[in-house]
Amino acid sequence: MNKLNAENLTLSINGASIVNDISFELVAGTMLGLVGPNGAGKSTLLKLLANLTTPSHGRCLVDDVPVSQLPRRQLAHTIGYLSQEATVNWPLKVRRVVELGRLPYQIGSRKMAQDDQAAIDAAIAKTEISHLLDRVVTTLSGGERMRVLLARLFATNPRIILADEPVASLDPYHQLHVMEILREHASHGGIVVTVLHDLNHAARFCDQLLLIDAGKMIAIGEPCNVLSVENVEKVYSVTIRCDAMPNTFTIIPHERIPHSY
């Protein structure tokens, strides 16, 4: 059994609601894309799921246990969070950055054990960064750095991955690479929730999409239903062209719909 529930998640700050009454249930094997315009509350929703922000109402549950009641360590073993600001503050060696992923398992200053090394090796293989290990992380390209940070996340072995715009600033090659890695995690029985701006990636890689606007859930479900012409035009204020293809479809934003202030 492996599931992630959001129950009436709400966050209001000074009376303004950032996230408004959002509920859903995800089972193992699901990749959920959070889509919506800038400022819709996608990142905040992700932080509420990760227990980085405390909701005003509602709660988030992992296997029916509220995340706020899980011990910190256990939560860190279960949920991996990939922050939007993919920065590393010191010029650390790539190998060390990946090793940081094992610190949630470390008590005191115990040396790396065999299972730590195995997890690190697996994470390095999964993200294909073995050739970067001796490089300094601050000198890497955006795509390489994102893979290194993903390797750090996989080294912790979380079942649930929450990723905030993991492909926003990457070139097409690395976009596909990162999306494939996340997709694979879900397909192997994990759960992935990721904020995405590219609706085509969202439609192609995610099992489910959650469309959010001004903190409210507009739609949740299969990509082809959520990204209906009506929904997209209403939420994003753009006209779109759709090309249906076997198994998938592409969305091309066409023109802005002038705001009616």
């Binding site: 910190r72 010029p91 060696k93 950055v97």
Partner: protein, 337 residues
């Protein structure tokens, strides 16, 4: 230019610094106006044989001085490394959050009211009380959940208040003797301190350092940002409090016995960072040893340069540290960090 790494291995670096520390410690013991046989006197002290002049000089003058130089340097280096790691900024130092100045103010108040002459322990106690006040102010101004910017701003405010109050004490000091005593104390020195001075401040330095050292893993994880650190199970507020209270205890105790000794906390982590692969966690222990080494070296230099007049240690560290730091900044101005 990318950041340079001279990672020479944890064990080699730490043992090298330890050897250097021991050598400089004995070198510091052997300097002084009177020539004594340090090893013979030490042996006599341990075996409790005849206590002649040499043993007296060693026990009352040189041991406190060398021990304090090593300890104060270690505490300053460690605190600097911890604050630079916490704020993820290589320009942070122990003075940044206002602890040094508040500790100095506490001690100055004791000197101003003449309480320091009532009992020797009032001076260090006043310093530590001042350091404690700075922590209260920090948490009052910035709060437990403050941002890093909030913390720095609170530090600036506290520093301003403490230094103006110190200036006020100097301004209203009614006799020139008290005033010069305060100024000399402010300049920073480890000479003319007793073992009792050391013993009263030692527990605070040890507890403070321990509080800082337990944040080792947290500082490493914090390299990836606050949200990531928290998502990895590290309670941001708890560790931040650990570092601030630890720095206040350790630096407060150090300043309260030695006065203000600048630049050690800033320069030492900066020099050692490339040698530990820029890892903020490993930098802690290295900076503690490095701080001890540097301050002992500075104290030896002070005694070589002015065997008779008492050149103040704090003046030397500032005079050497300032330009040295300028050179470091100049050289690494195009680095990523």
């Amino acid at each position: 230019m990318s950041a340079f790494h001279f990672d020479i291995g944890a064990r080699l670096l730490l043992s090298g610094l330890t050897i250097l520390l021991v050598v400089l410690f004995f070198l510091d013991l052997s300097f002084g106006p009177v020539d004594i046989d340090v090893f013979a006197a030490l042996k006599n002290l341990v075996t409790n044989q005849s206590h002649s002049q040499a043993e007296f000089i060693l026990l009352e003058i040189r041991l406190p001085r060398a021990l304090l130089a090593a300890l104060v340097g270690a505490v300053l280096g460690l605190s600097g490394a911890a604050l630079q790691g916490l704020l993820r900024n290589p320009l942070a130092g122990p003075g940044l959050i206002g602890v040094s100045n508040c500790a100095a103010l506490g001690a100055i108040i004791m000197l101003y009211f003449g309480l320091a002459t009532v009992h020797w322990s009032f001076l260090p106690l006043g310093g530590m009380l001042g350091a404690l006040m700075s922590v209260v102010f920090i948490f009052f101004l910035a709060g437990r959940q403050s941002s890093m910017t909030g913390l720095i701003l609170a530090g600036i405010a506290i520093n301003a208040v403490a230094s103006s109050a110190t200036a006020l004490a100097l301004n209203f000091s009614d006799n020139p003797y008290a005033m010069s005593e305060m100024i000399f104390w402010l300049l920073g020195s480890v000479s003319n301190r007793s073992l009792s001075d050391l013993m009263i401040t030692l527990p605070f330095m040890v507890v403070g350092s321990a509080l800082i050292l337990i944040t080792k893993n947290f500082l490493d994880v914090l390299s990836l940002g606050e949200d990531t650190a928290r998502s990895m199970g590290f309670a941001m507020e708890r560790y931040k409090s650990c570092i601030i209270i630890g720095v206040a205890c350790a630096v407060g105790a150090a300043v309260s016995v030695s006065g203000n000794i600048g630049f050690i906390g800033l320069v030492v982590p900066h020099i050692l960072r490339p040698l530990v692969g820029h890892e903020p966690g490993r930098l802690l222990a290295a900076s503690a040893l490095g701080g001890g080494v540097l301050l002992l070296a500075a104290d030896v230099a002070v005694q070589v340069l002015s065997p008779t007049q008492d050149l103040k240690l704090g003046v030397v560290t500032a005079l050497v540290g300032g330009p040295f730091f300028l050179a470091l900044v100049y050289r690494s101005r195009h680095d990523v960090i």
